[in-house]
Symmetry: C2
Subunit: 146 residues, 2 copies
């Protein structure tokens, strides 16, 4: 495996760990994915930008508590690596149940689908790649090429 291939594989592993933490609604796993610093930024679909680990973690906590079930089918993903920075661009095809996970039986929850265009930026750390930015935005049904 060349250095370039190894870098790309490392970035893909970090990106997969992010979506695994999200699907599992596991805040500890999500904490392992992110750099814990002031420069990190998350923009959830329709939300304002949130900066710094405290706000980023708080937003995941809120989302996990209000999501009963969430599944991601990722399509069109592309990885770019320049030195110690990498970014992954992809479409998140999401199937999710809204309402708290303890609201009742899963089969009584409402399921909804959405297509989100997303970019994930990672910075190389000593032991892997850490997420420094996640930005997802809804793709309108009527958008060009949608």
């Amino acid at each position: 495996m060349t250095e370039v291939e190894a870098d790309e594989a490392g970035v893909r592993a970090a990106n997969s760990a992010f979506y695994a933490a999200l699907e599992a609604r596991d805040l500890d796993a999500m904490a392992d994915v992110w750099e814990h610093s002031d420069r990190i930024v998350v923009t959830h679909p329709g939300w304002p930008m949130l900066r710094g680990w405290a706000r980023v973690a708080g937003s995941w906590d809120a989302i996990f508590r209000n999501t009963g079930y969430i599944q991601f089918v990722l399509t069109g993903d592309e990885v770019a690596v320049v030195g110690d920075v990498a970014w992954v661009t992809l479409d998140e095809n999401i199937l999710q149940a809204t309402g708290g996970p303890d609201d009742g039986a899963a089969d009584t929850q409402e399921l909804s689908g959405a297509r989100i265009a997303a970019v994930n930026v990672f910075v190389r750390a000593r032991d892997g790649w850490r997420m420094v930015l996640h930005h997802g935005s809804p793709v309108s049904a009527g958008a060009p090429d949608a």
Copy 2:
């Protein structure tokens, strides 16, 4: 000026050139801002992700032809530089007229406002910084902290 300050100033200049090209609806100036490659990506608010210089340029051309007037007030901008990559996160507070610029007198056009959360990624070139990614997403009026 330290090297870090010089890098940040260079990135801010490239970011300003992007919004100047956008406000001027100047496709040549926009072409100077971007890296002309296959890895570049633009996601306009509500649009699907568009890859590569041909599609990126085409989207700006379409937007410029359908925008009579557009003004950006940028707030909360933060710059991060890691090696040869930089990213700028900011809020775009947009005032714009819709309809083609030749549709009639500016004062008969409809003006609308919007708040867009945006990230701009740049890569260092020999003669400055080139944009490789722009992703803007609408902030909902009812969003937390909006």
